[in-house]
Symmetry: C2
Subunit: 407 residues, 2 copies
């Protein structure tokens, strides 16, 4: 597998565009479109929030119907959540505008939104935006890059990646972009992710691979414990690579799944590192746990704890907070078995040893925690299961951003 | 029922004292003792965290044994959590020091700690502190007041209250003090609460009343979602009021339980309002829910959400965040039935109406949200159950306090 430059336009047959529709922001692009003339097999995962945005309901219908997908239209100004029938109508009108402009069925057009909840979308601006986007669609790397910028809200950097790998002698490309900071625990500005590939694969297996990979990647990141109404991850596969169609869990499926895992983990880590107000990536790695689920719950609890996050920000080796967060996670364990380390590019230090408190060098600990990625390594000494969760530190800036989000 | 001045020394037979033992802080009292020469029936509730402080284990043993209690010794410097056998030994030595100084069995002495996790207590300072405290015990209002100050950590104000009520023609007094900010979701500095009464009551009924009242009071407050290793609430009843002993759930029991509810709710609200960095009390009141448990979970989810808390801080009527927090609470509901209001001493405003977005005056909303207590009133229109949860806003100051707690 090779990492190449580009994102959603890396795979042959995919075009993208961005446009400043003036939905919320002025002077920057706030709409994007990804388009494939070839019909695409598609799969998706969505927010578990009971309150689902209108666009999530629309996209779920498309995925569930099993019909092919040609396009996705995204806006980064208004979330279209808590907007009732009028909000759902806005999805339909957006999709109809794509049908009119590009001649693909409106039922093959997904829509995604991120931004403020409880405000209706200006449909006229959206429809106009679709018209503009349709005229400037391009398969260049630049077009994919501009789309990855247009979907940002409070993100400070755009996130895209592309890889190539070989299946059945054919080169396959997988690319993607994402924004926001979570899936189980996304922040206000929502996790959105869009992946494109020229792989040939059955829909059922595409969904299976995506769902399994999400469990260990996007579902293991957290910024603030708030699960958005809009979280959406879509993958479109247009089959242009010409590989033997993947129709069972053979070696080709495993090769694809490994590439998908690489792409999703890369995007997920970068989203966590770019969490609102974050100054660093905070990784919790649990090893030797009783079960995979225990390991996941423990790792997520640690990176979700406000007190742990604040300690990471303050470079304070206050390991008790990490043990405390493990303790209320719901997983039963014996602290007399647990070992806890702080680790980064600078070094590694044991700070808790099976119920005992080893003397450790506080200055060394602070040095380790000053790195741009700090890992809390938790050895449960109680089994063989492993999991990693990614989050970020909690800073004054998070509060500044969120105390006055709408104005 | 009448509210009177005082706290843990309000009820006859209870003495208190505080002392600057130099455990963590310099120049302020960091130890306190509450003492009753009469043996007390006692009850308690404790943290649900798997990682329990040594003192929690010690106190649970006393409560479970059914033997009477005479004293509780508290320090506010070091939590004595994650400290293994050495930490448990520190509890025993503290209790033995009380036995030596005051002639009550060491097994009748509870201990409580709050402060930094993962550091051993300086037992010599504790034992010396017990000796000092024993010589200055007093039943004055001032002694209770000083104890309520000595147990503070990051609290900005002390919290105490006392009430009197009549049972069987006898005046009964119930007083208490607390510190910290939570029980299900306490912050680092731990929720500790100590109640004293001269009521005569059977232990089993005292525990029942306490457990039931805690569910609707201390368990409904949150500051940051982190459940401490040390949370402890103890009640001691010495029987000096001379009322007919409460031995069943009769009218006397109900009278007592109402007084207990008043005292616990008062302390709980004040702890939430004094959450770390908080600038205001944030109350979520859920009405007409399907079940009491649904109402509790919804109310707690709303006051626990970082995004809701930041919106309350910013006086931003961003009601979508509140609906979003309800949506991921785990309770199933139909947003087409929900009505949402912001309410405070300044007025009341409907901001979400059964899936529709009523036009509302943003300036009025901001005015309402500037009050020192902001209530989010959530009408589920789906049943008859009600619950209230209390929290606080999330401010830059919370981060400042917790990024560098230990130094």
């Amino acid at each position: 597998m090779d990492v190449i430059s580009g994102g959603v336009t890396a795979a042959p047959g995919f075009k993208a565009a961005s446009y400043a529709a003036g939905i919320k922001y002025q002077g920057r692009d706030d709409m994007a479109m990804v388009f494939s003339k070839e019909p695409c097999v598609c799969a998706g995962t969505f927010t578990s929030n009971v309150v689902k945005a209108a666009c999530v309901l629309w996209d779920k219908d498309i995925i569930d119907s099993g019909s092919p997908m040609h396009a996705v239209v995204i806006n980064s100004g208004i979330a279209n959540a808590c907007t009732g029938n009028e909000g759902f109508e806005a999805c339909i009108q957006t999709a109809e505008a794509v049908e009119e402009a590009l001649g693909v069925p409106y039922s093959a057009v997904a829509v995604a939104s991120t931004g403020v909840i409880g405000v209706q979308l200006p449909v006229d601006k959206l429809v106009n935006g679709v018209g503009q986007l349709s005229t400037i669609l391009s398969d260049t790397i630049e077009a994919g890059e501009s789309a990855s910028r247009a979907i940002m809200t409070t993100d400070t950097v755009n996130k895209q990646i592309a890889v190539t790998f070989t299946i059945g002698g054919k080169k396959v490309t997988l690319g993607g972009m994402s924004k926001g900071s979570g899936m189980i625990h996304p922040n206000m500005c929502t996790m959105l992710g869009f992946l494109t590939t020229d792989l040939s694969i059955e829909k059922k297996l595409l969904q299976k691979a995506l769902s399994e990979v999400v469990t260990d990647t996007f579902n293991m990141i957290t910024v603030d414990g708030d699960t958005s109404t809009n979280d959406t991850l879509l993958i479109m596969a247009n089959g242009l690579a010409g590989n033997p169609k993947i129709d069972r869990e053979n070696d080709d499926y495993i090769t694809f799944k490994e590439a998908l895992l690489y792409v999703c983990e890369n995007l997920a880590r970068r989203m966590a590192a770019d969490g609102e107000g974050a100054s660093k990536l905070f990784t919790a790695r649990v090893i030797n746990a009783r079960s995979k689920e225990d390991a996941r719950v423990l790792a997520r609890s640690v990176v979700s704890s406000n007190l742990s996050k604040a300690a990471i920000y303050g470079c304070d080796a206050n390991f008790g907070r990490f043990l405390c967060a493990m303790g209320y996670s719901g997983v039963d364990f014996d602290q007399e078995k647990v070992e806890l380390y702080f680790e980064s590019a600078v070094g590694k230090l044991k700070v808790f040893d099976r119920g005992r408190l080893p003397a450790f060098d506080e200055e060394k600990a602070t040095e380790i925690m000053k790195a741009s990625e700090v890992i809390v390594l938790i050895d449960m000494n109680d089994g063989k299961a492993t999991a990693t969760a990614w989050g970020c530190d909690l800073t004054e800036k998070y509060v500044e951003i969120n105390a006055d989000y709408r104005s």
